[in-house]
Amino acid sequence: MADLVCEDLSMTFTNPQTGAVVEALKDINFTLKKGELLSVLGPSGCGKTTLLNVIAGFLKATSGRVTLGGETITAPGVERGMVFQQGALFEWLPVSRNVDFGLRMKGSDPKESAALVEKWLEIVGLQGFGDTPTYQLSGGMQQRVALARCLINDPEVILMDEPLGALDALTREKMQSLVLELWKETGKTIMIITHSVEEALLLGERLFVMAPRPGRVHREYRLPFAERGLEESLREIKHDPYFSEMREEILTMIWDMEEEIMGRV
């Protein structure tokens, strides 16, 4: 039972110069069961990245705790894979060396690693690109490498911070399908942050809409679209009346939040 549990998680930042205090997260409580797909949506600055960084172990929460399979998270670890918006690839290494980075750090057998790299490159659709320098890849391909690099370590949870934010619409749709595919095939717990409502609906079995100041989970949904996305084409789902209804509801919600922020400022 490797569930991801957040208990009363709070995070405040204090500006060392002005002394101003920002409540980036306040009393976050949720349980993410193994194999669940969660998307997190919210206006800019509501603490999405902070939440992800705390779960990843890059930041230490001010209070509360996060546990994975019962163990409290205190530092980054291989069981929680990260995918960043810009890939964060090692541009001095070719694709295959990027993908097997984690294995090399572990000191795995090179032959086994090579087979694994082949396998994962094929899964993410990059077979034959093993020797290509990463700077020669397009943005979408770079994100595929980042996914493969993360998955090859066999993490229990995959954390993604706006992984598709910098891609063009067409590439983005393909990558969304890929994420769903990987979710189905690997059965991993995935937490994905996005600023696109459509993406959040498509890639969320569960969906958190967060609100700012203090950063908190405003609404929580359970959605059927991710399940359906495994069979149907994503474009068809987008034309579904229920999908449109949900989109309108959430968009209005975020608009209201944004307006509230603007009004307060």
């Binding site: 291989v78 929680r80 090692f90 001095w92 690099r149 370590n153």
Partner: protein
């Protein structure tokens, strides 16, 4: 082969100059034709317009070569190989008559007599005015002194008056005039028929092939004429120098003044004056006596008496120009600058030709330096420019293995036994190796001035990289390292490296150690700063990704931070190489016995301009090679630069 090339460098230059001239004209023609062809296709500001155009490069290079050849007198030597020898003979004549000219307006605007008369009269006037305010003398004495000054002044007047000129002096001056006229006539008559240069003259080395720039003995008929004239002129000049204007009017006056000055001196010494007064009195009398002594030499002549000599010298000058004939044109066209001057035992080129060596001479000098056969005039100061040599392995071992290795080895060093012999134990043998006393065979190794310079730069750079990069990387990621070492480095780094040189060279010696340490300081600071900049510029997301991929801190340092900093590190190395090279040359100029900078410094002290230029060119080429190499390495090792 090299000898032959060296001896015939003037002819080689002639061919090269003609080729360069042809190339220049040809490239201009091609360039103009190309420009006309393309004028229609291109608009102003179109970057494509700057592509190609190699013909203009050819124009530039050949023009530069021609200008260089012209101002270095390379053209002159190529096409008028005997002209300098003739000009040298004329310079000899000029030197011979220069003492006469110096006394005349033709050489120095005023007659020397005029200058003497006016200067001494002015000084006497000054003394007279000073006397009025003088307190060290009594009123009666002041009257005596004023009379004395007036009489000294009278000497000038007497000498300047033509009526006082003694018949003897007049005759002597007339004699000089006649002899000068005779000399002018000889010159005008031209070289006598059947004159041939001496065997010794013909055997002289050619112009520029030895350290003595220009052959001294005349090798042409015209040259022999001038050479002979210069001998005669020297005799005339020495006669002229002996002439004095001693006239009867002055003789009596001079004797009288002498006794009066002696009397004054005696009074001063009598002891009735206090220290200060006496010093003042003696000072004043000495000032008068100094002027008097200058005047009793009889060096002032009436202006009218010298007029004939002046005219004769002018006439001699005109005759000189006549006798030069065609040489005058060559001199005006192909010898830019003040021409040739004879001083002491040499004829030297003056003006641009002096400091700008001829292209062929530079090549010849380089060939001589590059010749590794040190015994036969190759290399510089018994050391080749760049060659190889057998290096004992024990020297290398001794360099890297410190003596204390043997000291800390357990046991004692051997002592001499009862029979006075020593049996070395292991500890002794270890010491011998650490000292380089054990023969371990030899390996071939580069040697020479260039290698010494390179070696210093490479070792210092290697140390700088080896120690500076790790420190810089740690400073880029650790607050402790950054804050602890930053002040230490910033303390010495802003000081110009050469400002450290005197100190470092004193501490570490003027041999390799000092220079390597100096360069190490330079390279170290640059490497630390660039590695640090590179390390602190790593994207946080990359570090976080590596953490999540299970990398330890050490692995992140080696696998992420170091490669990420590599572009900065390589740029740092490139900068270090340049700065080290610059500093090294200057340091070698300060002290040392080998190296390119050392060669240039010695060249400077002996005014060997060819050598100076050769070393400048060597340094330029080596600097360029270093930089090209670094650029190539950077391109090959970090192709991702600017793409991440």
């Amino acid at each position: 082969m090299f000898e032959w090339l060296s001896d015939n460098r003037a002819s080689i230059a002639a061919v090269l100059i003609l080729v360069a001239l042809g190339t220049l004209i040809w490239s201009i023609v091609v360039g103009r034709r190309q420009a006309r062809l393309r004028a229609n296709d291109e608009v102003f500001g179109d970057p494509v317009r700057t592509r190609g155009g190699w013909y203009w490069s050819v124009t530039g290079v050949s023009a530069l070569f021609l200008v260089w050849s012209y101002y270095s007198w390379g053209v002159a030597r190529a096409f008028f190989p005997d002209a300098a020898n003739e000009m040298c003979q004329i310079a000899k004549l000029e030197e011979a008559i220069s003492p006469i000219k110096a006394a005349l307006p033709i050489g120095s605007r005023y007659y020397k007599s005029t200058l003497l008369a006016s200067r001494n009269a002015a000084q006497l006037q000054e003394l007279k005015e000073q006397l009025a305010a003088e307190t060290a003398f009594s009123g009666a004495e002041k009257v005596t002194l004023a009379a004395l000054i007036t009489d000294v002044r009278a000497l000038i007047a007497n000498s300047s008056d033509p009526k006082n000129l003694s018949p003897e002096t007049r005759d002597k001056l007339a004699d000089i005039t006649a002899k000068l006229k005779e000399l002018a006539a000889t010159l005008r008559a031209g070289p006598p028929a059947g004159l041939s240069p001496s065997a010794e003259a013909l055997a002289q080395p050619k112009w520029g092939t030895t350290y003595t720039e220009i052959p001294m003995l005349p090798i042409t008929a015209r040259g022999m004429l001038f050479d002979a004239a210069s001998g005669r002129a020297a005799e005339i000049a020495s006669e002229f120098n002996k002439i004095r204007n001693n006239n009867p009017a002055n003789d009596a006056l001079i004797a009288d003044i002498k006794t009066r000055i002696a009397a004054l001196k005696k009074t001063n010494k009598s002891g009735e004056f206090d220290e200060k007064t006496r010093a003042e009195r003696e000072g004043f009398v000495k000032a008068v006596e100094r002027i008097f002594k200058r005047l009793d030499d009889g060096l002032i002549f009436p202006a009218a008496a010298l007029r004939d000599v002046d005219a004769a010298i002018a006439d001699l000058g005109a005759a000189e120009q006549d006798a030069k004939g065609g040489l005058r044109v060559a001199e005006a066209l192909f010898f830019p600058g003040p021409g040739i001057v004879k001083s002491r035992t040499q004829c030297t080129e003056q003006g641009s030709a002096r400091w700008l060596p001829k292209p062929t001479d530079v090549v010849a000098k380089f060939g001589q330096l590059a010749n590794p056969d040190v015994e036969n005039g190759g290399g510089y100061r018994g050391f080749p420019l760049l060659w190889w040599d057998w290096l004992p392995v024990s020297n290398i071992v001794a360099f890297f293995v410190p003596d204390w290795i043997a000291d800390i080895w357990p046991g004692e060093y051997a002592t001499h036994g009862p029979d006075g012999t020593i049996t070395p134990n292991f500890k002794d043998k270890l010491l011998a190796i650490a000292r380089g006393d054990v023969s371990l065979g030899s390996i071939p190794m580069l040697s020479g001035h260039i290698w010494d310079s390179l070696f210093r730069v490479l070792v210092a750079l290697g140390l700088g990289i080896f120690l500076g990069v790790p420190l810089g990387l740690f400073m880029g990621v650790s607050r402790f390292f950054k804050s602890f070492f930053d002040p230490l480095i910033e303390l010495y780094r802003p000081v110009p490296p050469l400002a450290w040189a005197p100190l470092i060279l004193t501490i570490f010696g003027i041999q390799d150690d000092g220079k390597i340490f100096l360069l190490f300081m330079v390279a170290f600071a640059i490497m630390v700063i660039s590695a640090r900049t590179g390390a602190s510029g790593v994207q946080l997301s990359k570090i976080r990704a590596s953490h999540s991929l299970g990398a330890s801190d050490r692995q992140i340092m080696w696998h992420v931070i170091f490669p990420n900093a590599l572009p900065e590190i390589l740029t740092g190395i490139r900068i270090s190489v340049g700065v080290c090279w610059g500093t090294l040359v200057a340091a070698e100029m300060l002290a040392g016995t080998t190296g390119v900078g050392f060669v240039e410094n010695i060249a400077r002290t002996v005014s060997d301009y060819e050598l100076i230029w050769v070393t400048i060119l060597i340094m330029g080429v080596l600097g360029l090679v270093f930089d090209l190499m670094m650029r190539w390495i950077i391109k090959k090792t970090i192709p991702w630069r600017g793409m991440g």
